[in-house]
Point group: C2
């Protein structure tokens, strides 16, 4: 379905009925009608209220079906109980779209949940798209549509905003009006019974009035669909999302390393990263990013030029450049020479360029223009403090002109209050995003640079490897037939093998002589392990022997193992002894997967050993993913340099780790019944020598 077309009636209705319009000021049904009439909307507005003949000078209807003319959009403000009947009437009238403002649904206990279900069903049956219930309403600034009960109407701009929380939406609108931030569209979608994040992304994807999409959400009901759509939309325009709400999942029991390390925050981070979504960590950052992306171009690179009229804030900006993953540009010799021609001797001609505290507007603007002209500068941050000779407004004008004349983004920080007020207003009008403190300007620029790089990257191609799915299915069926969901080492190894993941050579012996012969065939040294579904901690009862170097050692180990097991676990079912190739050398890493309730299979990578869990030095991606993300996963853990041979360590076969990640990604995508799995350790040998899954655990869902 193309949300684009579907939501046209929401943003560009020819006529709007306000059902539940009220005669009493202060009531939501009154405020919405007033907003509809007073924000510049030129279409027809029909108040519906059986107890009034006119409201605010407009003729009132008994019900929506009474209206003769077609109605494109119904704004429903009746008590919760009356909503479904009203929607029925809308169906009768042929209204294609409704905004249900009324509260008293899912958020209001079991009765409300049932009411919301009925609303969903009714709307679906009648083919009516619904925004809400329990929402603030919808705005579109280009045609003056204001079907909300917010106080005030923001000015026209290029930010499209959606909010799950109506309360936050009111705060945002109020704040935006004070600060002159302009919007194209605004939707408070409340409980999201029908229209939600994905529909709105689609609706704004090609909206020429929208340059940046901003969303506040507390959850995403359909993770994979969100990722797909957000990815497509992000390739066209930035999508900035603030997701609040900690890990609600909480009490789920986990049995794997991966499960204990993967929370819903990790899943959101991975999903946003894979979709190109810019994540804001706070409301403040949401605003900071919104104006940066709305007002300025994406920088071509990470190299920042800083111009300032004071040393201190220049240092603060410089510090922030490093913390934000940006680089301080090295200025061209020509730039430095040019700066020397007009700046006083005591100025700093290198980056950050300090034009000094006594700079009037002309000198400051010269510094800014010269810096912007340097080919080594991808973006500029301009800092101004209100000193004795400072001309804030003139400086703002000069800077805005320099910014407008350049392809490069310019972000400013005019610090202060009263003295900077008019300068800041001018900057805002001229679309130079201004920040109260240098750090915030630099952080916003950092997010722009990362988004720009994401957009330039080649797409992540998910490649399919050959795999024996039948073999895996057989293993799972066998385990389930035995009433087990935890696969043992031998079964897990079969599964990995079926996907082409290298495992140690392995035989099962039922006598000491057989073990001896198998060990000789495999080649010494070998590892021996007792096989029993009843013994979970094999090492504790001497059920694991490593580094067995010769035939006699094998025979001794076999006999001892059986002796001990009979002594300490006399009732355990024995299925023989595994004789296994011993893999040495290389570095132990862990590749695992768990299932996130919102996004599905989440794959983890980290170094092996005790540090993994304590230091949480791991990376995540939502499966399926391709080589680009697999490589990023390996590279983004803090201890990655060790894999490349830092600190005198031997480098290891990164390519083999990447392949294992891709195979696991495919496996957990193919088999949604894999609830959790760890390949731990995967032993990555020297470059070219591959990686071997030495041990593994898999937990499958009960049927």
């Amino acid at each position: 379905m193309s949300g684009n077309q579907n939501l046209r009636a929401l943003f560009e209705p020819g006529s709007v009925a306000v059902i539940g319009a009220s005669t009493r000021p202060g009531k939501v049904g009154h405020d919405i009608l007033r907003n509809m009439l007073s924000s510049g909307f030129e279409g027809a507005v029909y108040p519906v209220n059986p107890h009034a003949s006119e409201i605010l000078g407009v003729k009132c209807y008994q019900s929506v079906v009474e209206i003769k003319e077609p109605v494109d959009l119904a704004v429903v403000v009746v008590p919760a109980k009356a909503v479904v009947p009203v929607v029925e009437e809308c169906g009768q009238k042929g209204v294609p779209m409704a905004i249900v403002i009324s509260a008293g649904f899912k958020e209001a206990g079991p009765e409300g949940v049932e009411r919301e279900r009925q609303l969903a069903e009714t709307a679906r049956r009648l083919g009516i798209r619904v925004v809400g219930p329990n929402c603030l309403g919808v705005m579109s600034t280009s045609n003056g549509l204001n079907s909300s009960f917010a106080r005030g109407f923001p000015k026209r701009g290029t930010v499209a905003l959606m909010s799950q929380s109506g309360a936050l939406a009111t705060a945002i609108i109020d704040w935006s009006i004070q600060n002159g931030v302009g919007y194209s569209k605004f939707v408070s979608f409340g409980n999201g019974v029908d229209v939600g994040v994905v529909d709105l992304l689609r609706a704004w994807e090609d909206d020429p009035e929208t340059k940046v999409i901003v969303a506040y959400v507390e959850g995403l009901p359909n993770g994979p669909e969100f990722m797909e759509v957000a990815h497509e939309v992000s390739a066209k325009k930035p999508v900035i999302v603030m997701k609040s709400g900690g890990t609600a999942a909480g009490a789920r029991a986990v049995s794997s390393h991966t499960g204990s390390l993967a929370g819903s925050e990790q899943a959101y981070d991975a999903a946003f990263l894979q979709s190109g979504v810019v994540r804001a960590q706070s409301m403040e950052e949401l605003f900071d990013l919104a104006i940066a992306f709305a007002y300025q171009q994406i920088p071509a690179g990470r190299k920042v030029g800083i111009v300032t009229n004071a040393g201190g804030p220049g240092i603060m900006a410089t510090d922030a450049v490093e913390h934000s993953g940006l680089e301080l540009a090295s200025l061209d010799v020509g730039t430095v020479e040019a700066l020397r021609t007009r700046l006083p001797e005591a100025a700093n001609f290198y980056n950050p360029v300090d034009v000094l505290g006594d700079a009037e507007a002309g000198r400051y603007t010269f510094g800014a223009e010269t810096l912007l002209g340097d080919a080594n500068v991808d973006a500029m941050v301009a800092v101004v403090t209100p000193q004795a000779m400072t001309q804030p407004e003139e400086t703002a004008k000069g800077l805005a002109q320099a910014a407008a004349a350049s392809e490069k983004p310019v972000l400013s920080c005019f610090m202060g209050g009263e003295a900077m007020k008019e300068a800041v207003e001018h900057l805002n009008n001229e679309h130079v995003p201004n920040y109260r403190f240098p750090e915030r300007a630099v952080q916003a620029l950092g997010a722009m640079a990362r988004y720009g790089e994401w957009r330039e990257e080649p797409p992540d191609e998910v490649r399919r490897f050959e795999a024996d799915e039948d073999a895996v299915r057989a293993v799972f069926e066998r385990a389930r037939a035995e009433g087990r969901v935890n696969l043992g080492e031998v079964e897990a190894r079969e599964v990995l093998s079926a996907y082409g993941i290298a495992v140690p050579e392995n035989r099962v012996a039922e006598s000491a002589e057989e073990a001896e012969r198998q060990a000789a065939e495999i080649g010494f040294p070998v590892v021996m392990k007792i096989i029993s579904p009843d013994i979970l901690h094999k090492s504790d009862i001497g059920g694991v022997r490593i580094g067995i170097r010769d035939r006699q050692g094998v025979i001794d180990a076999y006999d001892l193992m059986l002796l001990r097991v009979r002594r300490y676990a006399p009732n355990a079912e024995l299925r023989g002894v595994a004789v296994q190739q011993m893999i040495h050398g290389g570095r132990e890493v862990i590749v695992g997967s768990t299932r996130d309730p919102q996004f599905g299979p989440l794959v983890m990578f980290g170094l092996g050993g005790i540090y993994v869990e304590v230091l949480k030095d791991v990376s995540f991606r939502v499966a399926p993913f391709g080589e680009k993300h697999a490589r990023q996963m390996v590279g983004e853990i803090r201890s990655a340099p060790l894999l490349h041979g830092a600190r005198g360590e031997r480098p290891c076969d990164i390519g083999a780790i990447v392949e294992c990640l891709l195979l696991v990604s495919q496996m957990v995508t193919d088999f949604p019944e894999i609830v959790e799995m760890d390949v731990n350790p995967l032993r990555a040998r020297e470059p070219g020598a591959g990686a071997v899954a030495v041990d593994a655990r898999i937990t499958i869902a009960e049927e």
Copy 2:
């Protein structure tokens, strides 16, 4: 010296001379005079300008010596070249205190550096205390003293602010006037030729008008003195410092692990932590913390109650509570019952308490008061969004009254712009710190809670251990006599032993037979190492053998070692072979020290192995420190749980690690010539079994 008395003339002068007062508006010398005359100062003000008879209606003097009456404070605004002569005149006149506004000193090249040296010398000779040069001036709101050239004068309040940067000071003042933040004192100390951070801390330590001290600095010239004074002052009132400016040191060559991990940021963090100083990471945080500490009480604990009229921002505040190291309070049953009596059914009676979007002021205030009354709540964060029924001003009034009636801190977040403007003004007047976003309120509260805990902690007592300093001195002298600054393992072990740090038993053998005998005495297994000042990487040429289990092994190792060394390093000077007790079991940790240019000896702790450097999981303290800090060092690394026996690891002797840290702290304090040292690894055995320094390196300064 008691800065307290010394700086009285700075803040409470009876008379002030403005030397360099100008007739021309817009000139700094004019603006300062105008500010002095118009801010309410009741003492005498004497303009000094040889070319004017009166300025702004006040009689003008040819020079300061011409003034008949005593002058307590001179504000100097003459060109840089004329400053020293003017200070000479001040000496003649007996002026005890001068603020040198003029720029053109240290910040302006070699000539300025010399000029600043002369200024310092002249002032010292004449016994004149100097603020500046290159500064904005000084304000004191209680007596209307405004010797600055800032635009505007902040209102009276309890924040005392000092700033190294004049430009930032102007921005801060301007911003504070707009936002109604009140100050007690304000000093821009510029180049700080005399009066600096330490003097101002002392001056404000017992100032009854100052509740919180805030400082912006770019460096601290005397680290140890700052730590001592800041510690004393912090025990009385909070000291909040923003230190900007990255690691300028940069290119220093380092030879130890510790040296490679210790930067100036680590030193500042440690010094601030040990002094009880609250560190602000940005200007924004500086303001956030200043109003929190100035307006509210320190919480008695970490348990936070949240009251809100909207779900979304309540979630944001809840998330922030966890991220800020605070805890969400579990409400008392009585509180929940009390809330039920007046809140609607759909409200949330548990923490965060949601009084719902339609709450008018009465209901909101009831919720806030009830929450504040819960004994499990140490502090409250109150969130308000501007919804249809919200009464922002009345709610602010109710909340302010509830806050005033409670001993517990209340921080608020009235979100929005225009709709919240008057509410926010009221909150500010009533000293309820208000933040634009919930996260910032919670973060400020987190800093308050940590400060409160610091103040309650018992002090860190530095205890002296017995040590043989002469033995250490002898080792250092011997090395220096041989022209070496890097001590080898044997020498380093002697040094550690002299301080009572356990080292493996160790002998030096000059023949295979001697080695055999020594090994038998020490007990097997042993380690053997070649001793040669010429061989740096012993292992590379087979110069280290571990785990030698019997007499024959010792003989074999000795012979092989000498054979190999002769083959691969025929010219190396051999000093025999070390036969060493082999220490096994336990966990490898690292204890090291380096010397910070600002704070002196910095001691590091971390886990041993390759992860230390790559993951930078280490902790630092400035030496000397006592057991409290040594224990904190061990506890604050991310991998600390491993030392206590997490993840199936065996616990180790934390007490022995702590003792080693204390001994190293004492050693590097006693011997400033120790430039860098690593005890790596220190092998910490099971609890009660101690810790042994298996290997160590020490670098001393050239004489």
